[in-house]
Subunit: 224 residues, 2 copies
DNA sequence: TCCCGACAATTGCACCAGCATTACCGGCTC
DNA sequence: GAGCCGGTAATGCTGGTGCAATTGTCGGGA
């Protein structure tokens, strides 16, 4: 097994490397995000262990970078920043697991094993629907090849719907897609976005429409 | 999303159910392992939340039981037993995640989402009957490959029947499939749903029909 | 064969949760 | 301060669902 450790505290890193290599695990060690990026381009890892506080930035930003490069390796975030809010940020930032420091090496190993049990995740490609092409990674939409700008929240709704194009998306999933779990939604903000999005799509005759499944959620459909 | 909560502390269970059902999540609640087993046989869940200390045994033993029955639903263990040793036991026991009590509901939700991000159980069987294809996991029905929308309760009836296609489904089982075990039914609500479902299936000439076995239950049959 | 009681099917009705739309307004940016 | 974005709330609307009354069907016993 090959593992990438992104961690700037030398002591911890060395301890980990000592412990893990005893178990036959190959470890590459990066102290900075830049190095980590380089390494991950050159090698294929089974797991990435990622510290959040790094000399050249917040570790979490590394996850989107990876995914954009179609690297699906599971990421476990290791960090002292371990209150619930931070953990939620981490998980929703794309981490597969989140482990607060200090931790025991054998717990870490257990989590590594748990993460590896999971089947690999999918790559997200471009989604074509109606006259639109949607890039969920770069958060862009083009319409007949020319850029199509949307307000941020409407964009997020559209992307969430497009990702499961033709299938119903639960209302709660949409909410999760549009809102940080901190900012809770009062009132019908989501409905308002849907309504505005619909109007916009209709105005441009985008070739798609948003349908409602009462009591369940919404779905995006190609128009016939 | 459908979720099985296995937890014997009523207070916690109620709080969770209140919070989660607001997010459009359907929750079934079991207080004992035995009930959990029964429920998991009758339904397909997206996630299982599992307490360890249960009146009829250690919760962890439930995981092998599930896997042996080829149920791949991810399991998140919730428990007060939260020292590292216990956590390792949990994760190596097959849990996909492990969350110590007390926890915040939004952290739980974040972990649920993290676990669901993997498109794991795509393996789930689709049920084909007549011109319809029924996906009991996503609660969707397609008819000749185009989506076929049904009211929620009728959908649940149809799925329950389809799962035992050609075999009789007890009236009581149907009721359990459609209603939370809390909300009891007065009158003949179930009959009404059956009636409406029949009408709808006939109108679309779906190629299936719902038969009654007097005094016992109903069954779904391919039309000849 | 007919009758009767029990169970099942159907349908109209009424209620209300959930949805759609729109106007308004505060905040942010340029 | 003009304009866009986005959250809130008021309003009207719709469709799903529970209920009950009515009608239909089955099957056993006289």
């Amino acid at each position: 097994m090959r593992l990438l450790l992104v961690e700037d505290e030398k002591e911890l890193a060395n301890a980990l490397m000592a412990a893990l290599s005893k178990q036959g695990i190959v470890i590459d060690h990066a102290m900075r995000l830049a190095d980590a990026g380089e390494l991950s381009r050159q090698n294929t890892y089974d797991v990435i262990l990622l510290d959040r506080r790094l000399p050249d930035g917040e570790g979490l930003t590394f996850i989107p970078t990876l995914r954009r490069a179609a690297v699906l390796t599971p990421v476990i975030v290791l960090t002292a920043r371990n209150d619930p809010k931070e953990r939620i940020e981490g998980l929703d930032g794309g981490a597969d697991d989140y482990l607060g420091k200090p931790f025991r090496v054998d717990e870490l190993m257990a989590r590594v094993r748990a993460v590896l049990r999971r089947p690999a995740s999918v790559v997200e490609a471009l989604i074509v629907v109606g006259r639109m092409t949607i890039d969920p990674l770069n958060l862009t939409v083009t319409m007949d090849k020319s850029p199509f700008d949307l307000p941020r929240r409407e964009l997020l709704v559209l992307i969430a719907l497009a990702k499961r194009q033709g299938k119903t998306v639960l209302r709660s999933v949409l909410e999760a897609a549009v809102y940080n779990y901190e900012e809770e939604i009062k009132s019908n903000a989501l409905d308002a976005h849907i309504s505005r999005l619909r109007k916009r799509l209709a105005d441009c005759s985008a070739g798609v429409s948003v349908h409602n499944i009462r009591g369940v959620g919404y779905l995006l459909k190609d128009e016939v």
